[in-house]
């Protein structure tokens, strides 16, 4: 690596650290700007039945939840101390376990559901994009792009609701809610894994359908651009079979920009399924985040934002570093 590249990397590292600090600080500020107190949210269940809450009940909940009465500066110091120790305290909504445990339990579900969905959407979308780009202007191209446009415009939660209604409720082919059979404890046994897969089918289908189009369009446009490059024309003129040209030259080169977009999108995976997980009551991070926001669960919300933000930061940082290898122009 040359000196210039080293300087570029060093600069990126410093920038990464400053962004990390700013993002983490923003994560600290945002939840505290929200009105309301978690104690009230904890009393919500009682009140929803129309029963009044006594002052005594209220005080008992307050003592238990440990509402922070300390100053903001002290809270900020504590916040950093806890992050350094990876200790996010105890959440209000899940008082009997640490926030790290709560997130730890939910993270695999989101990573598996959205991660796997994204990988499949990427593969299928890219293949469709290559095909559409190759057949540009033809009927096949039009139907692929119009179809993808239409599916992409579906609000994911709406598509989820419809699929839930038809396949889970009306016909009973799939479970209505959850990530696995009630009564089972997560483990790696075949029976548990099959029940998990069974429960993930409609949520995954919903996410895949609505996220397919990005990859189709990205790839189609890149294909069309690459097909216009001189070296493709040159290869074609050299008498290679057109299919080989398409796959070996055009698609491979068109893929590069899409791969970097893929890295970025993986960072967004964690936060991407809030509504869909909500509709299916899927036991992942998205559902957890919504619960945390509704319950004003400061520790849980902070930690979730931290996880999501840091995931995205790291993804973008890696993409930045990859530029050094992929695109020499960036170094200038």
């Amino acid at each position: 690596m040359g000196l210039r590249a080293m300087r570029y990397v060093a600069r990126k590292v410093v920038l990464f650290l400053i962004t990390l600090w700013a993002a983490i600080t923003l994560n600290f500020i945002l939840p505290r700007l929200m009105p309301g107190s978690p104690v009230d949210a904890a009393l919500a269940k009682l009140a929803s039945s129309g029963q009044p809450i006594t002052n005594a009940e209220r005080r008992a909940v307050e003592i238990q939840l440990g509402v922070p009465h300390t100053s903001v500066i002290t809270q900020y110091w504590d916040y950093w101390t806890s992050i350094v120790h990876l200790n996010f305290g105890t959440s209000y909504s899940f008082p009997s376990e640490t926030v790290a445990q709560t997130i730890g339990k939910a993270a695999p579900w989101t990573l598996a559901l959205v991660g796997v969905t994204t990988i499949f959407a990427f593969i299928i979308g890219t293949l469709l994009g290559v095909y559409a780009g190759w057949r540009r202007g033809k009927a096949a191209d039009t139907s692929v792009t119009l179809g993808a446009t239409f599916f992409a415009a579906f609000p994911p939660f709406w598509l989820g609701l419809l699929l839930l209604y038809v396949f889970a409720f009306t016909y009973g082919w799939f479970p209505i809610k959850g990530g696995y059979n009630p009564g089972e404890t997560p483990n790696l046994s075949l029976s548990f894994l099959t029940s998990a897969v069974y429960h993930s089918v409609i949520p995954a289908l919903t996410l895949a359908i609505t996220s397919l189009s990005g990859w189709v369009f990205g790839m189609r446009n890149n294909m069309i651009n690459t097909l216009g490059e001189d070296y493709v024309t040159f290869a074609e003129a050299n008498g290679l079979r057109t299919r080989t040209v398409a796959l070996l030259y055009a698609a491979r080169n068109a893929l590069l920009p899409n791969v970097t977009a893929f890295g970025l999108s993986l960072g967004a995976v964690v936060g991407g399924s809030v509504l869909v997980e909500g509709v299916f009551s899927y036991p992942g991070l998205g559902n957890l985040l919504y619960i945390a926001v509704v319950n004003h669960d400061f520790p849980l919300m902070q930690a979730l934002f931290l996880v999501i933000t840091v995931a995205m930061l790291v993804a973008i940082f890696i993409v930045d570093l990859l530029y050094v290898r992929l695109d020499p122009r960036v170094r200038q």
Binding site: L15, I18, T19, A22, A23, L26, L30, P31, L33, M34, P35, G137, T145, L146, T149, F150, A152, A153, F154, P155, F157, W158, L161, L162, Y165, F169, T210, S213, G214, W215, F217, G218, N221, N222, I224, N225, L227, L256, P257, T260, A261, L264, S265, A268, V270, G271, G272, L275, L289, Y290, V293, M301, F305, I308, T309, M312, L313, V319, D327, V330
Partner: protein, 312 residues
């Protein structure tokens, strides 16, 4: 990056788009410019479909009082009714006419889409152009801000902001969506601007002693009209979807009648359970159609900027 935006942004500078570059001619009057742009878009088949849908939605929104047979808020009908001659789309659990709500709802969705799209684009263009044209500290600072907004997850950030703003109105949603979705456009515009900065016609303009604003807005901006338009339509698509999401979660203004709030109340009153699938189906489809129209128009815009994407 906004989660609801379905299209991954072209992150690699110059990868997705190539732009005709040259000194801009005399800038035509805004009306003639718009007319020419519309004509060019109309020649693109996909864009023309988008324009037709958008035109229909605009007509419905403008003439809502004439088209809607009933008041959208009157709770005078029998609740949970299926479609009938009086209530074409049935009634809500509160006894409101769903068809009238759909007609009036077009106004809010359209307003949010256009207003949030415009606001986000304004921020994106300003930040992107200045950052792209002023390398060094200003670029670093603005790019830093852009990156910060990009890495904060869009939809969760929207939830928090929407929950934070106590007095909720349609403008809350416009503001929240604009605040969270300008960064993608700014990044694209910045990279394009920094490429253009080094081209001869810009350098020569600078040498001839033109000021910053003149160079940026007269020399650079006209060369990326399609990027700006693209960023507007992307932001508008994202805004329509984000509005629906926020309202569906009950984070919108409950007093307004919009496609998002119809979905929210349909979910609260469990219209699927009572068999009133129209209440869920119609607003979702309308949101999808509006979003499709923006995306289709964006195809035309892309084709304008990139001759290779033009249809033969």
């Amino acid at each position: 990056m906004s989660i609801v935006s379905p299209v991954p942004p072209p992150e690699v500078p110059g990868a997705g788009v190539e732009i005709r570059v040259g000194p801009a001619g005399p800038i035509p009057g805004p009306l003639r410019f718009l007319g020419r742009a519309l004509r060019t878009l109309w020649s693109n088949r996909k864009a023309s479909i988008g324009l037709v849908i958008l035109g229909l939605v605009i007509l419905v929104a403008v003439f809502a009082p004439l088209l809607a047979p009933h008041s959208p808020t009157a709770t005078t009908f029998v609740p949970y009714q299926n479609p009938s001659a009086t209530n074409w789309f049935g009634t809500t659990g509160n006894g409101q006419d769903v068809f009238s709500q759909m007609v009036y709802g077009a106004r809010i969705s359209l307003l949010v889409g256009i207003a949030a799209g415009a606001m986000a684009t304004l921020v994106a263009v300003t930040v992107g152009l200045i950052a792209g044209y002023r390398p060094g500290v200003i670029d670093e600072l603005l790019s830093f801000m852009t990156n910060l907004v990009l890495v904060i997850p869009g939809l969760p950030l929207m939830f928090i902001l929407a929950a934070y703003l106590q007095k909720r109105s349609v403008w809350t949603i416009v503001f929240v969506v604009a605040f969270t979705s300008w960064a993608t456009g700014a990044r694209v515009i910045r990279s394009q601007a920094s490429t253009l900065r080094t081209r001869e016609f810009v350098t020569s303009a600078v040498f001839s002693g033109e000021g910053l604003f003149r160079v940026v807005f007269r020399e650079i901006l006209p060369n990326m009209t399609s990027l700006v338009a693209g960023s507007f339509f992307s932001a508008a698509t994202a805004a329509v979807m984000a509005e629906a999401s926020l309202e569906f979660l009950g984070l919108g203004d409950p007093n307004t009648v919009s496609w998002g709030t119809i979905l929210y109340y349909a979910q609260q009153q469990n219209s699927l359970l009572t068999g009133q699938w129209v209440l869920v189906f119609a607003p979702g489809l309308a949101i999808a159609l509006l979003a499709v129209s923006f995306t289709l128009i964006n195809f035309g815009v892309d084709a304008l900027s990139n001759p290779r994407l033009r249809e033969k």
